[in-house]
Symmetry: C2
């Protein structure tokens, strides 16, 4: 890429990110997996998990907060139940390393539960499960956010992380439906992007100094005053994520994370749970066409956008034009 | 119970409900299971799924919409994966009939996924999973609401049911945390109770004639204008429930239910998914004490009420005083 080019190819960006992460101390196989993930987020317009995050990865690697050369340890604890100790490494390479075992479980039992502990997850969740839905499986995953920035209903201090969850399902004749959202009113990345861009946020996103309502994302970040989405129901879901992706996996809770570590990126030594089910088990071969009927019903009722539609549209544009070069991408090429 | 008594015992209420359901055509074993469930909701103060629902059960049985003598068919489709055809019966007896198989799966594999189809679920979800958490398991369940009363973001007509989901976890030294909520802004039962009591609801609950905002629960019910909770995230969760509890189980979607059937009660021939995991698998014996630490953190941060607290408080009062007799209970004794 020349410095004046307005677009960069996916492969070029991926390689550049991988090189950057290797220079910061990541093993090549780890750097390649993280770079594909990060460039994929940028490609799909999910900028809050794209190149914007590279500085956090680098800081986390260079500070030693995360081990970029960690070798995950897999333990089968049941015919469909895999535990993964990410050994203070990133969650994505741990999941890639587990993929063969998971595939065998799915082949043999129609089910796989993967409980990852002692891991760091700085990215979106949809890349972790989209590939299952592309092969006919449904998949549900959740991650402990790892920095206590969210105040559940009634709390006078933050307890939860942004605790995202994601779900993917095949759709016959179309790419998978993949939803992925923070159980906080806004993701931490989007809140940072809003602050950096000088944008205000809506009143239900969080509270500021003294617990007062504010639309200033900088104040919400400083006060760690993010609220869960959807009142007590979102708060309950965030609690569920701490239990399933934290306690069940054996990872840390958000409130246990070292606050000083959060500057290097979220999710220190927490966990991730992935549940994959083969809906075709039991001769339910019509599953994907049933989901397609539901999707058609929704579009017919006037729902203009289903989860992941925007990402697929961005992905198609990139295939045509390449990835638009942002200041964050330019900075990588320096 | 004398007609002037202010309280009734749990056992007395349960037997009365069972007799009523048997008179409406339910087999005794089915009636006993439904009655224990219904009386349990009343006992725990969950009135929208208590005696208030008996008329709906009776109507559903007498109209033949639901088969009160159905014999569910179980099919093991994997070492941890059970399919249940409820044969147009109620979901609760199907789950009770499946309990031994599920226990064996949990013993042998640490996991159980139960996919129930062709079932009717008129009650709360927490009674289905509380008992797993009491024995040390985490459990997640969801049900397709079965009447199209919820309009996802952007829809000009209702597509989803109220599509509840519930999650239960053990807590060392305390009763389980069990959350259970509709993915709609309010449950259909609570909306009916608000209408019957002449109460207004808040503006984000639903829309009325012409899609306009309204606080009138009667108008929301008439227009089938309920909204999902929490905007597009709640809407996405409701979609997930249709996919997992509908398409995956082989049950009907909410939008496929016969609208005329809805007067007899929700959830015609839909499905329910239950996922049970043994968090102790893999030598994670500290699980329940970790959840207790999280609960303590939340209470210490000022969260006065965790999910299920209210039910346990009501349950304790009933143990002391019996169940308060409401007009709905009085009517049963006529």
């Amino acid at each position: 890429m020349g410095v004046l080019d307005s677009h960069v190819s996916f492969d070029e960006l991926r390689e550049l990110i991988s090189t950057t992460l290797q220079q910061a101390g990541a093993a090549r196989w780890v750097a390649d997996i993280l770079a594909a993930n990060c460039a994929g987020c940028e490609r799909d317009g999910a900028l809050s998990h794209g190149v914007f995050r590279v500085a956090g990865y680098v800081k986390s690697l260079e500070s030693g907060q995360t081990d970029g050369a960690a070798v995950p340890v897999l333990t089968n604890v049941g015919p469909s139940f895999l535990r993964v100790d990410a050994a203070n490494g990133f969650a994505q390479p741990a999941l890639v390393l587990a993929a063969d075992t998971v595939d065998t479980m799915l082949d043999e039992t129609g089910l796989a539960v993967v409980a990852v502990r002692d891991s760091h997850h700085f990215s979106a969740l949809w890349p972790d499960i989209e590939r299952f839905a592309e092969r006919g499986f449904v998949a549900l995953t959740m991650v402990v956010g790892g920095t206590r920035v969210v105040r559940p209903r009634g709390a006078v201090e933050p307890v939860f992380g942004t605790n995202p969850l994601a779900f993917a399902t095949p759709v016959e004749g179309a790419p998978p439906i993949v939803m992925d959202f923070a159980t906080s009113a806004m993701s931490h990345g989007d809140l940072q992007l809003a602050r950096n861009a000088g944008r205000q946020v809506s009143l239900e996103v969080g509270t500021g100094v003294g617990g007062r309502d504010t639309t200033d994302p900088g104040e919400i970040l400083a006060e760690r005053g993010l609220l869960p989405f959807g009142g007590h129901k979102g708060s309950a879901l965030s609690l569920m994520v701490e239990v399933l992706a934290g306690a069940l996996t054996g990872g840390a809770f958000s409130f246990e994370a070292d606050a000083s570590a959060s500057s290097a990126g979220p999710s220190p030594r927490t966990g991730q749970l992935v549940i994959v089910i083969d809906p075709r088990r039991g001769a339910n071969e019509v599953f994907a066409s049933r989901v397609a009927a539901l999707a058609n019903m929704l579009r017919g009722a006037g729902v203009s956008r289903l989860p992941a539609d925007q990402r697929y549209q961005a992905r198609a544009r990139v295939l045509q034009d390449g990835i638009p070069v942002t200041p964050a991408i330019s900075a990588l090429f320096v």
